[in-house]
């Protein structure tokens, strides 16, 4: 029942009724407008083992997410390596996230993408159920999308 059409995936993580937590989803939607014909785009508000289903079989993945490290000003865009992501994942809403996925997949010879680029934006912790981004997140949104665009262009995606 696989729906993979392309070898590259843009994966936005977050919850679209949890305010700034949606920033990764919104960025994925924005990039889909420009690159949607040549890459797959997925959104997920899930973690752990379900991510394996989404990632398995792709060659490259651009992952977009929101994090709370409390080490940066809200709106700061960061690119993390898988190793760095391991260090901050505990403060991500996606709690049992990628580190577990990588470790589990490695153990069971599940083929995950060879290249995963992880773009995240620092946010304030969401407390209320609501739609929309705070101004400081909105102000940085285009930069977030632009950084994603650069990665896709480096992968020769048009």
């Amino acid at each position: 029942m696989s729906r993979r059409k392309n070898s590259i995936l843009i994966l936005g993580l977050g919850n679209d009724i949890l305010g700034n937590d949606a920033v990764g989803l919104l960025a994925a939607r924005e990039l889909k407008k420009e690159f949607g014909n040549n890459v797959d785009v997925a959104e997920a508000a899930l973690s752990g083992f379900e991510l394996i289903d989404l990632l398995e079989g792709y060659e490259k993945v651009l992952l977009l997410d929101a994090v709370v490290t409390k080490q940066h000003t809200p709106g700061t865009v960061l690119e993390l390596t898988k190793e760095q992501f391991k260090k901050v994942v505990a403060v991500s809403p996606h709690y049992m996230g990628l580190p577990d996925v990588f470790q589990f997949a490695e153990k069971f010879d599940i083929t995950l993408p060879k290249e995963i680029r992880i773009l995240v934006m620092e946010i304030e912790p969401p407390l209320d159920l609501r739609e929309g981004l705070d101004p400081c997140i909105q102000d940085s949104f285009l930069n977030f999308v632009e950084r994603g665009k650069n990665i896709l262009q480096n992968w020769n995606i048009e």
């Binding site: 153990k107 969401p126 209320d128 609501r130």
Partner: protein, 488 residues
């Protein structure tokens, strides 16, 4: 009396986290214990003013752990709001989706969250106490079986629900998509393997837990016992049903206290507020709030896999029924009040969910194109109740004549269990923390086990997978000075 303070506080949760505060007296024993779950605010306001038919899709966003449960409770509430009954095939497709969901969710809890306590032992290092630790202990083949089970679950959810997560197919009056014969065959072959996996899980539990006297003693110990009322949804023969039926409550002796229809929930359940908790404490309204006390004189009830089995007269499928009978025989008869037996009850439900899924996918009617009745009546008010993996889930909507929401009320599984979790944690803390006892990570984990058995879903917000939460424990003297701090 002066107190010392131990705080078990997950330091990194965002969308909802549990926190346990334990207060010691001068003698070094536990004087009091508070279990707290922050709740996300604003859901009711978020929904009011929206068309009610959007609710089955909106409410799935509430929770990354059991969106399927919210989807289904919401769809049933919408049926009631629109005064429409889904046709038989539509109802069966919903129930099939729901049982496959249960089979996936219960397996995840057993292998990733609850099971490691037994397979690796409650004193094992937190770094090992996870599914990878389970695999390291009992073999890679088990991990592969688990992955396969999850894959079957995921594929069927996508087929029947339209999406792997945040399903969209249930609508007022039925479902939007039927099942072709070719699809049915594919689902059947997957479900057959899910039944085998459930049987394998029962055997694993027997080998690892039941054959270990120390674990059976732990399950039956007073530290992990809590005598309260039991709640669960039952069919017309008083058998466990996750999707439909009446809510049955039995007392501490197993005698039926009440059985009510979803639209009677407000006559039977009320919510108590405590100043130290963000979350309310539901109780049996006909008894009234009596405080955090055990026994029939109290009004606290549990809504868990164990309470569902206690509240029912049996299971509707043969293998699950046999295991149901074995559990009660092994643990001394009905009802069982041993909190840790919830893990056993959970895998009996896993077996039932897989068996029931097989019955449904083999039902000749399941491929019928008659899957939805188009609603024609004016929308008013409705209540939908299903059993979520974590307990009875109630959605209640009130609309105007155009179907625009005026009022929304939800009682979710973990909210039902707020009082019993607090009581179980307190009892575990009192049994485990004594003067002179070093509060080690193992001790903390044993306290955690008291609430992990409930599979609590903190915040009903996003992607929470309890059981892996980072914890910090701070032990303070009566002046608030830190004496000891443990992080993991």
């Amino acid at each position: 009396m002066s107190t010392k303070h131990i705080s078990i506080d997950p330091i990194t949760r965002l969308e909802g986290h549990g926190k346990i505060d334990i207060f010691l007296n001068d003698a070094g024993d536990v004087e009091n214990c508070y279990f707290q779950i922050p709740e996300l605010r604003g859901f009711e306001q978020f929904c009011i003013g929206r068309p009610v038919e959007e609710m089955p899709r909106i409410t799935t966003r509430l929770c990354g752990v059991c969106p399927e449960a919210h989807h289904m409770a919401s769809a049933k509430a919408c049926d009631a709001v629109y005064h429409v009954e889904p046709p038989s095939a539509g109802r069966k497709l919903r129930e099939l989706l729901y049982n496959v969901f249960f089979a996936g969710d219960h397996a995840l809890h057993f292998y990733a969250l609850g099971g490691p306590d037994f397979v690796l032992g409650p004193e094992a290092s937190p770094a090992e106490r996870n599914i990878l630790g389970v695999v390291a202990k009992v073999g890679v083949e088990i991990g592969k079986k688990f992955i396969q089970h999850r894959a079957h679950h995921s594929a069927i959810m996508e087929l029947l629900g339209g999406k792997k997560i945040h399903q969209v197919t249930s609508l007022p009056g039925g479902v939007s998509k039927g099942l072709t014969e070719e699809e049915r065959k594919g689902v059947e072959s997957r479900v057959l393997e899910m039944v085998e996996f459930a049987k394998f899980t029962i055997k694993l539990f027997e080998d690892v837990v039941l054959k270990n006297k120390a674990y059976v003693d732990l399950i039956l110990s007073d530290t992990y016992s809590l005598k309260v009322y039991s709640m669960g949804l039952v069919d017309e023969k008083n058998r466990v049903n996750f999707y439909d039926g009446k809510v049955r409550v039995v007392d501490c002796n197993g005698k039926e206290f009440v059985k009510y229809s979803p639209n009677e929930y407000l006559e039977n359940v009320a919510e108590h507020v405590e100043p130290w908790s963000y979350l309310k404490f539901p109780f049996l309204k006909k008894i009234g709030w009596k405080g955090f006390i055990e026994g029939n004189e109290g009004s606290i009830y549990r809504a868990t896999p164990l309470s569902r089995l206690n509240a029912a007269d049996g299971m509707a499928t043969p293998l699950a029924q046999a295991e149901y009978e074995r559990m009660y025989k092994t643990l001394g008869g009905k009802p069982v009040h041993a909190t840790l037996a919830t893990h056993w009850a959970r895998i009996i439900e896993l077996l039932y969910a897989a068996e029931r899924s097989l019955e449904l996918v083999r039902d000749p009617e399941i491929t019928s194109p008659n899957i939805r009745v188009i609603p024609k009546e004016t929308q008013t008010e409705g209540v939908g109740i299903v059993e979520a993996p974590r307990g009875t889930l109630t959605h209640h909507y009130v609309t105007d004549e155009r179907g625009i929401l005026k009022k929304v009320n939800l009682i979710v599984g973990t909210t039902n269990n707020n009082a019993p979790i607090a009581m179980s944690v307190k009892k575990a803390a009192m049994g485990l923390i004594k003067k002179g006892v070093q509060v080690t990570d193992g001790v903390l984990n044993k306290i955690e086990m008291a609430f992990r058995a409930y599979d609590p879903c903190f915040g009903c917000a996003t992607h929470t997978l309890p059981g892996q939460m980072p914890l910090v424990v701070t032990i303070r003297n009566k002046n608030g000075e830190v004496l000891q701090e443990i992080r993991r």
